[in-house]
Subunit: 335 residues, 2 copies
């Protein structure tokens, strides 16, 4: 399979994008087309030895910046690295696009260039995150600041097929992120969505999940509007970051703590690696008629490798075909 990699997306492009592509080709046997100014990408590629038949460059002279209107940028900058990568998937020349560029532009590209799956009203961003007892997926992480109750049912379906196809979980649980466990709790959106989710036969809805339980990882799929999902994602990031820094500071404040800190360091490092959601390969845009992987803006080569692996797993799992089939049949039977 071939990955279309936006060579200029992300804070450390093109150095890390190209390095990640080279390593992914070696590790996963994929083929990669890197989009971007040919001479720049080529200069980076020349630093490495690799199977030249596996990586090619698609020249793209424009770059989409983080400050411009995503929709306008995708429409007008037809020669941008992101747009070119999207076009490759649209034209069937690549099977997945990977980009660490602006989330807004990626979303606009997914909707305007690739298009939604028939029957899907809203595409959504989702990511697999590490929890205490297992991985969980929040849908939507921020593609839609406002949604209708029905959209949360769509998100539940997308997540269900994701876990079935990619994680091998036949009957994943779906929870509604809410500020109380009882059915009648929450705001207008969650109250209405609860009723729709309860009536939907093709998903395994287990009721409300309070944010206190989200990171337990007991419930695989957590649906919410994109505002709430983004708040959850960013709170998770912020609290983990600050807590680790504060714990380190607390340990370093005493001699005894310093010594202990040296001893626990390898365990903590291993822990941080196991619980780094960047290891999961970024977020994916679900509901569009192609595989779109959003790598973190600060991605290094390793993160790009993981994002490419994620695109590969998506493709090989047959996720998209399974999702489309079920959407067309209007049928989401749970095993």
């Amino acid at each position: 399979m071939r990955i279309a990699l936006d060579g200029m997306g992300g804070d450390f492009a093109p150095v890390e994008t190209v390095k990640g592509a080279v390593e992914a080709v070696k590790a996963y046997g994929v083929e990669v087309t890197i989009t971007g100014p040919e001479e720049i990408i080529r200069a980076e590629l020349e630093k490495y030895t690799y199977d030249k038949s596996k990586i090619d460059i698609l020249d793209a002279r424009e770059v989409i910046s983080l400050n411009e209107s995503p929709v306008m940028a995708i429409r007008r900058k037809k020669d941008s690295s992101l747009r070119r990568a999207m076009d490759l998937v649209k034209e069937g020349k690549a099977q997945a696009v990977v980009s660490a560029g602006s989330t807004g532009a990626l979303l606009a590209g997914g909707l305007l260039v690739i298009g939604r799956v028939k029957g899907v009203d809203r595409a959504a961003l989702a990511a697999l995150m590490p929890g205490k007892n297992g991985h969980f997926m929040i849908i939507d992480l921020g593609a839609n600041a406002e949604v209708k109750p029905q959209n949360l049912v769509e998100f539940a379906k997308m997540g269900t097929v994701y876990f079935q196809a990619i994680q091998g979980v036949e009957s994943p649980q779906v929870g509604l992120v809410n500020i109380g466990a009882e059915e009648e709790k929450g705001n207008e959106l969650t109250k209405a969505a609860y009723q729709l989710l309860k009536e939907e036969s093709g998903i395994r809805f287990i009721g409300n999940v309070e944010p206190r339980e989200v990171s337990d990882g007991d419930v695989e799929i957590l649906v919410c509007d994109g505002f709430t999902g983004n708040v959850i994602l960013k709170m998770y990031e912020g609290v983990v970051k600050n807590l680790m820094a504060m714990i380190k500071e607390a340990m370093m404040s005493t001699t005894r703590g310093k010594l202990g800190g040296l001893l626990v360091k390898p365990s903590l490092k291993a822990f941080m690696k196991n619980h780094d959601y960047k290891e999961e390969g970024g977020a994916c845009l679900l509901g569009v008629d192609g595989i779109v992987v959003k790598a973190h803006g600060t991605s290094d080569a390793r993160a790009f490798m993981n994002a490419i692996r994620q695109g590969k797993r998506f493709h090989e799992s047959g996720y998209l075909e399974k999702f489309k089939e079920k959407m067309e049949a209007g049928n989401f039977p749970v095993a």
Copy 2:
């Protein structure tokens, strides 16, 4: 000053409520009226030696459970321990009410028994939380699942007076919790609220704050709807709890880690104590014409002590008078 303590509120009432009252009387010199079935409260009180002139009992035969409608319960159960405590404040016989009972009933009691400050449309729950660089306050933590943009301006005013009167910060910063730093980001509520907050002269609005930065503690007051605030509070709790458990597990998985764990234990314990938001004495209901402190449902005697201390600080700071004065003058000058 006298505290009205709901003797039957919370998971560990009346054992821990009464113990907390006895210790608070010794530590802070306050007077406490404990509401609840007289013989039950008296039996608890008899376990301790204390200045008998400082604690009395107000007999209340009913208890509000967590399952009943808060509004109905407050209206009908006039002889409940919570309602009796609220009445004491309403009648001026106590200067603050403290309860670990149902948040809904506390809110209903605050609104229906004590009433809002003139000019306030919505009362809100707020709590001081420990951040990396300082304490921050989120308003609203869950009193209002839906709000209007104007309500976030009210919350900003309540928080501003809180920091001025109680924390001694003359010109506290106000941030709008949002999923992007730029003015145009967010949902309909945050976009409209941004414009109102920007135009409000009596507060120091610094723009959007992303949830990633909330726990930094650099911005004192964070305003949001109650759904979002509750998500933030519960994510914070959940991630801290799970992360500490996972770190412990990671350390215990190796012999080296176990030894290090023993050495860092005192530092971590001190850290957890310093960063336990329960130490702050619970949440407070702002915007009502009386001091209402909500202790955590799982409060022990120490947490009740802290909640009583919080009520005392509120009263002595003159918060309520200052807030009412400014609301009446329609004037919130920032120093």
